[in-house]
Symmetry: C3
């Protein structure tokens, strides 16, 4: 059991105070604007991705590199996980080998509870099942703060498969804690009433919103969705037509990979109001801030 007053783990934004979240956002923006980062020469870290990923994994790799860390190569497909080793034993092994922090994506929701109890090194959650994806949430928030300075009083629509998205629920919670009004849209059968937000049809929602967060249609989860896909764009997607009714100062976010022509019209991915590629850029800085905190959980100062 770890007993630090401030945990060095980063597993869910629910566990951070509003102040801590805003400090992370501020630090990420400072790093983006060229402030020197702390350095971690030869601190060894490992990235354990049990689900496919380009963006999140490469983004963490880049953040680790910029912080001067050594990344121990680890591939789940060629590891002893194939011999039936448990996640806990794999992580304890890496700790014994001298790895000083773990970034983990795993299909099991809440996989990190047992690890936090049994390991002394920080766990950074890069996505757990249908649970959380807190580094994605942080980069989303960072992108909003970068544009608006704050989100108090802003209206955010989250549109898409709210029921299966691991970002939707935790984003809705944190956005409300930070003062935003959150609404949901997309296919009514994918809406999740337990989230405590109002459902608003897409055509109304886009006219009310300062921030339009599109979720990915996860084709790998919806076998029956082939026919839906054909109609999704017209019914619930950000079409060229709907774009004309979006507020001029509003911004469009998407966690990517984008299904061009489904969630959003192909031509709008690079629209001036789209922040989709800016989100990717910001993700590297958000993860640098997260990693700095993992190694210096109690520090408040900037670069040493």
């Amino acid at each position: 059991m770890k007993t630090q007053p401030v945990s060095s783990d980063f597993v869910s934004l629910d566990r951070l105070s509003v102040l801590e979240i805003e400090q992370l956002i501020e630090r990420a923006l400072e790093l983006k604007h060229g402030q020197p980062s702390k350095t971690f020469a030869n601190k060894t870290i490992a990235n354990l991705f049990f689900e496919n990923s380009t963006r999140t994994r490469c983004s963490f790799e880049m953040a680790e590199h910029r912080l001067g860390m050594h990344v121990l190569p680890f591939e789940t497909t060629t590891s002893s996980v194939q011999k039936g080793e448990t996640l806990l034993d794999t992580c304890k092994t890496l700790e014994a080998l001298g790895v000083e922090a773990l970034v983990i994506r795993h299909q099991e929701t809440g996989y990190y509870h047992a690890l936090m109890e049994q390991l002394t090194i920080p766990i950074i959650n890069a996505g757990d099942g249908s649970g959380q994806h807190p580094s994605q949430s942080l980069l989303d928030l960072m992108t909003m703060y970068e544009v608006f300075g704050h989100i108090h009083g802003k209206t955010v629509v989250i549109c898409g498969d709210l029921r299966h998205s691991r970002v939707a629920r935790s984003n809705a919670d944190v956005l409300q804690r930070l003062g935003a009004t959150v609404i949901g849209s997309g296919p009514p059968e994918w809406f999740d009433e337990t989230m405590g937000i109002a459902y608003v049809p897409i055509d109304e929602a886009i006219e009310q919103s300062d921030i339009i967060m599109l979720l990915r249609v996860q084709q790998e989860r919806h076998n029956q969705a082939m026919e839906l896909e054909e109609t999704y764009h017209e019914q619930y997607g950000l079409t060229l037509d709907r774009m004309r009714r979006v507020r001029p100062e509003a911004i469009i976010l998407h966690p990517a990979p984008v299904n061009r022509g489904i969630e959003i019209a192909d031509e709008l991915v690079e629209h001036t109001q789209s922040r989709i590629f800016e989100q990717m850029k910001n993700g590297v800085f958000a993860r640098m801030a997260i990693l700095e905190r993992a190694f210096h959980p109690n520090s408040t100062e900037g670069a040493i």
Copy 2:
């Protein structure tokens, strides 16, 4: 659209002038002879290999390391390509994450056209479908120039599956531009009349040639070829018997991996006239020259 007078992309030798090609060869030989390379401390590059490779991939990795670059790990098998992300969006993502150049092998011939239009970072083609393999062509040329000083007036036979090889056609073109006479040999049904070179039976060809370029029998492409393999060596391969009729100053090249006992007798792979392992050595220096140019397309000076 990029508008630099000299492109920093390296996708095909067809796009380079004879002068540019000879400058690259000269630079690669300088690097081999110990001239210091330019340094690219912490320039980040990614290698995207959508087809299996040992030599080309490891050779680029080694060249990148010698130039002081940071290589972002990227595995196609565990990336979001598995979720259906397009090559273009994957590359735009990596660019957004801060990757400063991409080395790509992809099964689609000419995959790089769209990337060159949409990305601002240099693309280095490590093989496109049945198209080009320009870094292999450059190391082949470098190996010839190293031995002969030039190739003007030399006769080069390319022997094997000319129709499916991605090196054959582009090599034939560039060799002719550099002044060589190029002939083709191997199974007549694998010869490609559209290449504009003469077909010469192998027993004549080896007596005429200064440079014998053997192509790999790509068993993965020829399902029906199992019976052919048994007879290939006797009919078209470089047997011990044929070796006795090769000119004493001639050299033997093969892009590898070699099928020992098919394209060439096992004992001849390490023959004094074989440059097969020297090609691999040279490949690292050829790729260092290519990478230097990618980052400094307009520079003509040597090491800074």
Copy 3:
């Protein structure tokens, strides 16, 4: 053929004298206690793992990093091995590319004989079929020496699938050369009479032994073993009940990954007499000592 008086290869403890083995153990313990290592700035090494592994591979990676080496990424699953290239040609290729040492795990027992003849760079065996696993043996010995100072006169029981384990036979040999008494236990049908050690039933064996080496039940090798597994723990495993009869100064070793509840009761993996996670820690230092020797086979001094 290499002709150095002392080989720089490390393929089997059988080939090392007792003096050489004890020097390696001593060096590994020195490194663990903080003595500076030799440095190998930018020496390039490659790890070729043709069988799954977490511990051994990551342990070598960590050792290489701590020695300042550059590790060339190599994945067997995406290499030209998939095109049928032989191990020898793959290794000769890597040597030609400038790789200066190879760490190899391969399913073929004794794969290294041909490589040692044909390559000039050192080969470090990370496991060959049912043959040897000498870096694991060395870390086992290091862990024993760390606790007892020596193993002369100690009794060691090796318990489990002696017939298929690649550590059992070579460990039995080297333990006897270093002065220990070695006995075997576990399922009688898995005992191997040709090893020249006595079979002792587990309940007697644990009372006699200073060192209890548990072997992994390799479920991937025993299809018929599903029913055996259910009874293995009670019949041959280190149960809570048997633990009470283990000598208070005795230690428990296991090469891992552990099948918790089969070879050893779940609660005993982290028992104070268990050295299982300490073995993993020690492995990094054992491999640093092995790598130092590979590059400086004739040197006897410590850090330069």
